[in-house]
């Protein structure tokens, strides 16, 4: 079970959905903060950090995309997008802005709770004790080190800022490195998605990860694409 009292921010301008989601997620044990606009949500975030966020894309005022881009530099909490459409562009744009997963309306509560649970599970810090000693040198040239125990990636003396989900994706690829992992298996292990999960989630996250850890994201040498099969982490 997840920790009771995880702080969950709900940003949804439809009163019915916001109220019913708040009721249902409080039942699930979350400490829900519900706001009807991105501006209010930013205020709430200034008050206290959140563990998880549910964000509608179509909001009056600031839209969901802008909200995610505004929040991302300071928060690595998983963000699940409530998308009005299953359209290709909206979902990819939201993922690229920094969202971790999505649910399309009309959704059922169990879809939302499953997504929340998947991203919350093993995602929070500090990590489980048995992983405390893991240190993986990803790139000896740029001194890039995955410190699974501390739940962070170090580059030289500083930290590389990864979201919770990006970190889990990297950890999955790195244990051990050199294996080819299919999009399906990454979807299952990181997002807890089944056969019909959207493989673009993996692709966008790999892209995001590359821009943060690769010396040249256009010519990836750490997280490489294996055509027709999936992705592989090559340590150097």
């Amino acid at each position: 079970m997840w920790r009771v009292g995880a702080r969950l921010l709900v940003v949804e301008d439809d009163d019915g959905i916001r109220s019913s989601l708040s009721l249902a997620l409080q039942d699930e044990g979350y400490d829900v903060v519900a706001t009807s606009s991105a501006e209010d949500a930013l205020d709430a975030l200034r008050g206290a950090p959140m563990d998880l966020m549910l964000v509608d894309l179509m909001l009056g005022g600031m839209d969901g995309f802008t909200f995610i881009r505004t929040v991302r530099p300071t928060s690595d909490a998983p963000i699940i997008v409530l998308s009005a459409r299953a359209d290709t562009h909206d979902i990819v744009a939201a993922l690229e802005a920094g969202a971790d997963d999505y649910v399309t309306k009309p959704f059922e509560l169990k879809e939302v709770t499953a997504r929340l649970r998947a991203l919350r599970r093993r995602g929070g810090r500090p990590p489980e004790p048995e992983q405390a000693q893991d240190l993986v040198v990803l790139d000896s040239e740029s001194h890039l080190v995955l410190d699974a125990g501390a739940g962070r990636v170090r580059k030289g003396d500083g930290d590389v800022h990864l979201t919770v989900t990006e970190f889990r994706l990297l950890r999955e690829l790195a244990s051990p490195a050199g294996r080819v992992l299919s999009r399906q298996s990454l979807l299952a292990s990181v997002w807890d998605r089944g056969f019909f999960g959207d493989e673009r989630i993996v692709d966008v996250h790999v892209r995001r990860l590359r821009t943060k850890i690769e010396p040249d994201a256009g010519q990836p040498r750490l997280v490489v694409t294996v055509r027709g099969l999936g992705y592989r982490l090559d340590t150097r």
Binding site: D14, G16, I17, S19, S20, L21, L23, A24, D27, A84, A86, D87, T88, K105, P106, F107, E108, L109, K110, R183, G194, F195, F196, D198, E199, R200, T225, R227, G228
Partner: protein, 461 residues
């Protein structure tokens, strides 16, 4: 007993034009041939008669000169005349007949001509000779009290006329054929725009609503092309308006439906604390909301298909994995998937859309076909086939195409009719994937829905 009348074979427009042209050519060429023949014959006959008459006078004067010479017998005079071939010369003198031929006598000279000559006038009549039709020329020779006759057979004239007739007939036949060919060509040329219209109409019926006829300079065609394109414009606008309306309505319904399902989920967690009657009511609401959600999902999916947003997110999967997972997520047993083949049957599909299509087929089998019996996946050349068999009594042949149309609902056995969208969603999803779905019959009597998808190679992202 009345005999059934056999309907005449309906003649196509092309055939009609061809036949008309051929008939016209035949009439014209026949008239021309007959006219030509008659004029030519008159001319030839007249010329022949003139020649024969001239020859007759010349020979007659020759005989007269011969007989004037005292002591010359008629036979001698005749002997001096050297008539051309086919010509027999007769001389009558004092009721005595002389002939240049041994086999022909006075009876070969027509009686009418003899009477005319006897009355003192030269004459010419058509007659028949031993060698076919001929001319008889008679000239009175009063100076020697004799009558001179020549009978000329005219086989050459007959031959010329026969040849002329043959040539004209052959030309008439050739002209008729040429007329038919011309008609065929003209019909094709005239009907070519019609073929274009028919092709465009077929494409539009097939869903390509952007199809228009190219504009033309031809004043005859401007009207029909203009009307056609206007009609398609109106049709497209109407279809798009309907689709937009459906899309708008279904979009509007998403938020309240989400609120309803979420609220009902909250109630469901407290189900045990509710009175029995409230529990029953809650269960009813839950079930109906499920149906509502399913129908709305179909509508939204159709809206996306209409907007051309189908099959954009493709991945390569084994069709059997697809079927197995579709069975599982819809709460069915994966054992319904039968038939094992060692080869991989990879298809390149939008998994979620294909899942929805397959689940709709399974639901259809349960709802209208007395239950899903088996699903089998097999390769067939460049195709992968998914057969979905049910236990019902099959679909009547005349309904097998119609059931894939939007809002067509089959006779339902249960009390829960479908939305009439499920199968049309299946058909349109497959169309967007360059595949198709058909309904056929299986020997057991049930219906089989065959899904056909293009087989993809193993390579690719």
């Amino acid at each position: 007993m009345t005999r059934r009348r056999i309907a005449p074979w309906p003649l196509g427009l092309r055939a009609k034009v061809t036949v008309s042209f051929a008939a016209g050519a035949l009439v014209l060429s026949a008239l021309l041939a007959v006219g030509t023949y008659l004029v030519a014959r008159d001319y030839l006959v007249e010329q022949r008669a003139d020649t024969a008459l001239g020859q007759g006078f010349a020979d007659a004067s020759f005989v007269r000169e011969g007989l004037r010479t005292a002591g010359t017998s008629v036979s001698d005079a005749l002997g001096n005349v050297s008539p051309p071939r086919d010509t027999v010369v007769f001389v009558r003198r004092s009721d005595e007949w002389f002939s240049s031929s041994l086999t022909q006598g006075r009876d070969d000279v027509p009686v009418a001509l003899r009477e005319q000559v006897r009355s003192g006038a030269a004459g010419l009549v058509w007659t028949s000779t031993q060698d076919g039709p001929g001319l008889a020329v008679g000239v009175p020779v009063p100076a020697v009290e004799a009558e001179f006759y020549e009978v000329v057979a005219t086989p050459d004239l007959q031959r010329t006329l026969d040849t002329l007739l043959t040539v004209l007939a052959v030309f008439a036949v050739l002209t008729t054929l040429a007329g038919a060919l011309l008609g065929r060509w003209a019909a094709r040329r005239v009907l070519a725009p019609l073929d274009v219209v028919a092709g465009a109409a077929a494409r539009i019926a097939g869903g390509e609503l952007q199809t228009r006829l190219p504009s033309t300079e031809d004043p005859e065609l401007v009207t029909i092309i203009g009307s056609f394109n206007t009609m398609v414009d109106a049709l497209q606008e109407r279809i798009e308006r309907d689709a937009r309306f459906t899309a708008d309505v279904s979009h509007e319904l998403r938020s309240p439906l989400t609120t309803l399902t979420t609220s009902v989920a909250v109630l469901q967690t407290r189900r045990e604390s509710l009175p029995e009657r409230s529990q029953a009511a809650l269960d009813l609401v839950s079930v109906e909301l499920g149906r509502f959600r399913s129908a709305l999902d179909d509508l939204l999916e159709l809206g996306r298909l209409d907007a051309g947003a189908a099959g954009q997110v493709r991945s390569r999967v084994d069709a059997r994995d697809l079927v197995r997972n579709a069975l599982q997520v819809s709460g069915r047993s994966a054992n319904l998937l039968t038939g094992q083949s060692p080869e991989r049957l990879v298809v390149d599909v939008d998994k979620q859309q294909m899942n929805r299509a397959l689940v709709n087929l399974f639901d259809n089998a349960d709802r209208h076909g007395d239950g899903l019996v088996a699903v089998s996946v097999l390769g067939n050349g460049g195709w992968v086939l998914v057969n979905v068999d049910d236990a019902g009594s099959g679909v009547p042949p005349d309904e097998r195409t119609r059931i894939f149309e939007r809002f067509v609902r089959g006779g339902s056995r249960g009390s829960r009719p479908g939305t009439g969208l499920g199968l049309s969603l299946v058909a349109e999803t497959l169309r967007a994937h360059d595949g198709l779905v058909r309904c056929v019959e299986v020997p057991s009597g049930g219906a089989r829905f065959v899904v056909r998808l293009p087989r993809a190679g193993e390579e690719g992202s």
